[in-house]
C-alpha cells in the first residue's frame, strides 16, 4: 500500500498498527517495571557492601562500598552472633537440602501416583483420585497442629526429614502429571507392550523422558516454594543450626537486645535471593518449554 507510513528506521519488524511512539511508550513501561523490581535488590546488594556504621547513618550511598569481602567472609565463615554463632553457610546448606528434598520428593511422589491413576485399572481408582484431589482444599496451615503432633511423636523435630516430609505430597503436581499423561496416545502404550516393555520399563524408558519438560518446569516452581517456606520450618526447628535461611533472617532482625547487624542481614538476604534466581535463570529455557509446549 502506497500510503502506509514507512516503518521507523531500524524497526522493520513492527507489529501491525504499531507506531514508533507506541514502541517508546512500551519500552518506558518495561524499563520502569524493571527498575521497580530490581532496585530494592540492588539496594540490598549495596547495603551488604558497607559497614554497619554507614548503613545506620542515612542517607545510604547509591554505590557499592568497599566492605564486600569483609562482610561476606564474616557472614559465611565467622558465624553470625545473632543466631547462635551459626554461619550463613550452614543456613544455606539446610535450606538447599529442604528445598531440594521438597521439590524432588513432590515430583517423585506425584508422578508415581499420576502414573498409577492414569495407566492402571484397580478397584477404587476414582476414589483415590478424588481423595488426592480433595487435599487441594486443605492447605498446610489448616492441618499444622496435627502434623506438628505427629512430627513430635516420631521424634522428627530438628531433623531434615521433619522439615521435608509434611510438605512432600502435592495434589497440584499429581493433577498436572495426570493431565499430561492423558494426552499420551493409547497406541504408544500398546506399542510399548508389544515391544516387551513392562510397567517399569514403560515408566522409565518412555514416560519419564516424555515428561522431562514438565518435570523441569515443576522443579523450578517447587524449588522456590520449598526455599521460601516460613511457617513450617519455624515450628519444626528449634536448634539454631537447623534453621533455614529465611527463619534465620527473621531472627537476626528481631533481636531486641542490641543493634541489628544490618550489614550481615543484607548479606544473608543476598544469599537468600541468589539460589532461586540461579535456578530460574539456569532452567529458564526448560521452564518456559514445559509450560507452553506439549511434546508432539
Amino acid at each position: 500500500m502506497a500510503d502506509r507510513k514507512a516503518p521507523a528506521s531500524g524497526h522493520d519488524k513492527l507489529m501491525i498498527g504499531q507506531s514508533a511512539t507506541g514502541i517508546y511508550i512500551a519500552h518506558a513501561v518495561l524499563i520502569l517495571g524493571i527498575l521497580v523490581v530490581a532496585f530494592p535488590i540492588y539496594y540490598t546488594f549495596v547495603a551488604s557492601t558497607h559497614t554497619l556504621q554507614t548503613i545506620l547513618r542515612p542517607p545510604l550511598p547509591l554505590l557499592p562500598g568497599g566492605k564486600f569481602f569483609a562482610n561476606y567472609t564474616e557472614a559465611l565463615f565467622g558465624g553470625v552472633g545473632r543466631i547462635g554463632g551459626v554461619g550463613v553457610g550452614t543456613l544455606l546448606f539446610n535450606t538447599t537440602v529442604m528445598a531440594l528434598g521438597i521439590a524432588i520428593g513432590k515430583i517423585a511422589i506425584s508422578i508415581l501416583s499420576a502414573y498409577a491413576i492414569v495407566f492402571f485399572r484397580f478397584p477404587l481408582r476414582m476414589t483415590f483420585f478424588w481423595l488426592i484431589f480433595i487435599t487441594l482444599m486443605l492447605p498446610v496451615e489448616v492441618r499444622i497442629l496435627p502434623t506438628y503432633k505427629v512430627m513430635v511423636d516420631f521424634g522428627l523435630i530438628d531433623t531434615y526429614a521433619g522439615l521435608i516430609l509434611p510438605l512432600i505430597a502435592s495434589a497440584t503436581a499429581t493433577l498436572l502429571f495426570r493431565q499430561f499423561f492423558m494426552t499420551i496416545p493409547g497406541e504408544l502404550v500398546e506399542a510399548a507392550r508389544v515391544d516387551g516393555a513392562g510397567p517399569w520399563r514403560f515408566f522409565f524408558d518412555i514416560l519419564l523422558p516424555l515428561s522431562r519438560t514438565n518435570i523441569a518446569a515443576l522443579f523450578v516452581i517447587l524449588f522456590i516454594y520449598g526455599w521460601t517456606q516460613y511457617l513450617w520450618p519455624l515450628l519444626v526447628t528449634n536448634r539454631n543450626d537447623m534453621n533455614t535461611i529465611v527463619i534465620a533472617l527473621k531472627k537476626m532482625v528481631s533481636f531486641a537486645d542490641a543493634d541489628t547487624q544490618w550489614h550481615l542481614v543484607m548479606v544473608t538476604a543476598m544469599f537468600a535471593i541468589v539460589p532461586p534466581i540461579l535456578v530460574v535463570v539456569l532452567m529458564q529455557r526448560w521452564f518456559v518449554r514445559g509450560l507452553v509446549e506439549s511434546e508432539k
Binding site: 496416545p185 510399548a192 515391544d195 520399563r201 516424555l210
Partner: protein
C-alpha cells in the same frame, strides 16, 4: 513360520456390547490375511485380541498351535504396526527399532546388525539418527514397519497402517508391504476398511460385518462369487448393482417383467458395473437381462466412464470403456449376460 487359529472368538465389553460375535478363521503359514469391513464391524477388535491387547471373552486364539488366550502381547511373539505409527517420539529411529530387541535382552552387536540390515531393506539407513518428528509420514510408516520386522516375530499385525498417507504414497506402500511380506514369509493379519487395499494385498480375504464373518476366500473368488448382498456391495468399486425382485422373482420393483429364468426364492438380482454393457437395439445373447435405463450422471475417470442410470425402479451403475458419449437424460438399453448375474435370497445369501 506360524499359523493363526481363531475358534469361535467373541468379545463382549463390560456394558454388554458384543463387538465380535463368534469368529473362526484359520490362517495358514506365511499367508497375508486381510480383515476388511465397514467401521464398527469388529475387525480392529479382532486384531487386538490376536495381539493380546484385548482380552478374549470366549473362544480360543492359537498362534503356531499354542493357545495364547492368557498370554500377554510380549510373549506372543507378534509385532504390530499401528495406524498412527506410535513411534516413541523421544527416541531416534535407531532406538525406536532397537527398543523391542533390547527389552528381550538381545546382545548389542546382534541388535546393531539387525537394525542396520532392516534399515537397509527399507531405505532408512540415512535416517537412523533422526527423531520421528523430523520424518515425513511415509518415512514414519517405514520406521513403524522396521520396528516390526527387526524383531522377526511369528506374526505381523497391521492396523490400518496406510490410512494416514496420501493416495499416491498409499499405493506405493501397498506394493512394498506385499513384496516385503512375500520375501520375509511371515504370517500376517492386516486390517483395513479400504476394499481396494484388501483386494490387492490379500492371500486370504475375510469380509466382516457387524461382528460376524460374511465371507472368507481368495480375493478374486470373493469378488466373483460374493456370498451375500453385503459382500457384493462392499467389494468392488463401484459396488455391484443390486435390484430387488417382486412376484416370485418374475418382475422388477417397477413391475416390468424380468424375462429371466429366476432361481427359486431369489429376491435380489445383481450384476457388476463392469459386466454390464450399453447395447444398441440388436440381438442379445439368450438369458441376458435387458433394462431400459435413463442416464442421470456421467463420471469420466479417463480410461473408463461410469454411467449412473435409473432403471427397473432402482439405480444402477454401468462401466463403459473410454469416453462415454451418453449425456444425462439419454435413454439407453443396458445388457448383462446370463453368466454375470448373481442371485440372492431373502436373507441376502447367495443362491
Amino acid at each position: 513360520m506360524a499359523t493363526v487359529d481363531l475358534k469361535d472368538v467373541k468379545k463382549v465389553y463390560a456394558g454388554g456390547v458384543e463387538a465380535v460375535k463368534g469368529v473362526s478363521i484359520a490362517i495358514p503359514d506365511k499367508a497375508l490375511c486381510v480383515l476388511v469391513g465397514p467401521s464398527g464391524c469388529g475387525k480392529s477388535t479382532l486384531l487386538r485380541m490376536i495381539a493380546g491387547l484385548e482380552a478374549i471373552s470366549s473362544g480360543t486364539c492359537s498362534i503356531d498351535g499354542r493357545k495364547v488366550n492368557e498370554i500377554g502381547p510380549t510373549e506372543r511373539d507378534i509385532a504390530m504396526v499401528f495406524q498412527n505409527y506410535a513411534l516413541y517420539p523421544h527416541m531416534k529411529v535407531y532406538d525406536n527399532m532397537a527398543y523391542g530387541l533390547r527389552n528381550r535382552g538381545t546382545p548389542k552387536d546382534e541388535i546393531d546388525r539387525r537394525v542396520k540390515e532392516v534399515a537397509e531393506t527399507l531405505e532408512l539407513s540415512h535416517l537412523l539418527d533422526r527423531r520421528p518428528r523430523e520424518l515425513s509420514g511415509g518415512q514414519r510408516q517405514r520406521v513403524a514397519m522396521g520396528r516390526a520386522i527387526v524383531r522377526s516375530p511369528k506374526v505381523f499385525l497391521f492396523d490400518e497402517p496406510l490410512s494416514n498417507l496420501d493416495a499416491k504414497l498409499r499405493g506405493q506402500m501397498r506394493v512394498e508391504i506385499k513384496n516385503l511380506q512375500r520375501s520375509l514369509g511371515v504370517t500376517s493379519v492386516y486390517v483395513t476398511h479400504d476394499q481396494l487395499e484388501a483386494m490387492t494385498l490379500a492371500d486370504m480375504l475375510v469380509v466382516m460385518n457387524a461382528g460376524l464373518v460374511e465371507q472368507i476366500g481368495a480375493p478374486l473368488d470373493v469378488y466373483e462369487k460374493p456370498a451375500s448382498t453385503f459382500v457384493a456391495s462392499f467389494i468392488g468399486a463401484p459396488p455391484m448393482n443390486l435390484l430387488p425382485l417382486i412376484g416370485d422373482g418374475t418382475s422388477f420393483a417397477d413391475g416390468s417383467a424380468t424375462g429371466l429364468a429366476t432361481p427359486a426364492k431369489a429376491v435380489t438380482i445383481g450384476f457388476r458395473p463392469e459386466d454390464a454393457d450399453v447395447a444398441a437395439n440388436g440381438e442379445v445373447p439368450a438369458g441376458s437381462v435387458t433394462l431400459p435405463a435413463t442416464v442421470q450422471a456421467v463420471e469420466p475417470v479417463g480410461a473408463e466412464s461410469f454411467l449412473h442410470c435409473a432403471a427397473a425402479g432402482g439405480s444402477i451403475v454401468v462401466r463403459v470403456a473410454g469416453r462415454a458419449t451418453a449425456q444425462p437424460g439419454d435413454n439407453l438399453r443396458v445388457v448383462a449376460t446370463a453368466e454375470s448375474l448373481h442371485w440372492f435370497d431373502q436373507a441376502g445369501k447367495r443362491i
